[in-house]
């Protein structure tokens, strides 16, 4: 995978406390970047409204493979794509890249189910969401569909 295999990205600076006792960013922190990259993208597209909007996205599965360590004060590029756009769920894939490398430092996935804010039951993605998400969808082999 390279940056070209993804469809959008966001710069995320590391923070001092991201580093753990071994002097590199703790494995847990990578997930906070996935969460941030996906939700920020949704908010900036005018789709997600944390306080009042409907639907909201709940996370049902996540995973990450770590290829290379990252350390404060590096900046991370979180690159996004969608591997599966379901009726009410989306499988996001996130590649974390750092300066000077073609390959990702880590590759993660993040499955969001979009639910009604009050009932917290899955609700079909609104058309506006589906249209905004479509350009991020890639075929399983990494090529655009």
């Amino acid at each position: 995978m390279t940056r070209a295999d993804y469809r959008a990205f966001r710069i995320i600076p590391t923070r001092w406390m991201d580093n753990d006792a071994y002097g590199h960013v703790n494995n847990v922190v990578y997930y906070s970047w996935f969460d941030t990259a996906v939700n920020a993208w949704l908010i900036e597209q005018g789709l997600l409204d944390i306080q009042n909007g409907n639907p909201i996205g709940l996370v049902v599965e996540t995973g990450c493979r770590y290829h290379r360590s990252v350390a404060f004060p590096e900046r991370v590029e979180a690159h996004l794509r969608i591997a599966k756009l379901g009726t009410s769920s989306v499988r996001w894939e996130v590649g974390l890249f750092t300066a000077g490398h073609d390959g990702p430092a880590a590759e993660g996935h993040f499955v969001h189910v979009y639910v009604d804010r009050v009932t917290r039951r899955p609700s079909p993605l609104p058309d506006a969401w589906r249209q905004a998400l479509m350009p991020l969808v890639v075929a399983q082999d990494g090529a655009a569909p």
Copy 2:
């Protein structure tokens, strides 16, 4: 200050990622323990209800002096007392103790203003709160009032 200068306490185990690149708990994490100790106490007394209750507590000032480092997997005792019980605000003081030491590893304070959940304007502490908080109040010199 020793444990006897406080009025209630809570055990808080450290977590792996609390440690930072220098191999001890990062200064930021101590504040998460203050927050946890104070809010857990309020919840367990039946006062605070995060989801639905009224009032809720917002933080307007915090501070901490660090005397001795703490490291995972140590367990911390967060000891609580109230230095000032105002109409709608409370100055909590928290001493963080670890096994084998009389003196605190750190001493912090935490000023909560209790506000209406919706308007987020200060509201006088309900009587039930005031009665529950009274036993934690100490005089400025550390003696019970």
Copy 3:
């Protein structure tokens, strides 16, 4: 899966800031519990020494499926087992349980590669480690081997 499918456990209290804007523990935080449960177990067995010991464990892959939300101030039981004990790597599986439920709130895995502290290259698990880890190993179908 129930608690009986695991071989060791650790109590982990939630913290106030574990909750996110939707009022339950953020998906990221679960991974800090995996890290904590595994490393604390290794330390308490006298195997891992964060500051000076050899080997140390680096994380190469993690994952989690979320079944039920958890919220502060709940306490979590992190139950551990080992699904694969390799030459220098271990696949840990962690079930997170809460009071009143037989099934886990979340199930995760956590692949540690044990490396030399200085070179950070994989090193075969010492015999003392292997012997201590054996009782946690389960067969792939969840039964003890």
Copy 4:
């Protein structure tokens, strides 16, 4: 205080999990921004080297007053100045600003003692550090000295 009362700044984007159950950034997180802004500045000036350098900075006191809430996905400007440049300690002051406001969302301080990496005893600031830090020093009344 306004941005003009400070001497350097750094942009810090918020992260999804910075928000707590009340829908704004948790009070604890502000301290991670202080730590990040100060240490990143020291690293970028070629002064601090986390892995190998000498001295390193340990935190002995911190504090924060919160004036206005901040929420993901806002970006924060962490503005820095030095209120006291001692022999081996520095009192950093940090103002956190957000778009559209002249006044800070929060004002904090952060006292670093610079210590020998191995002995962890205070060591006088090297000349190179002192010269680099001087331009950030303000007089107590907020005016440049």
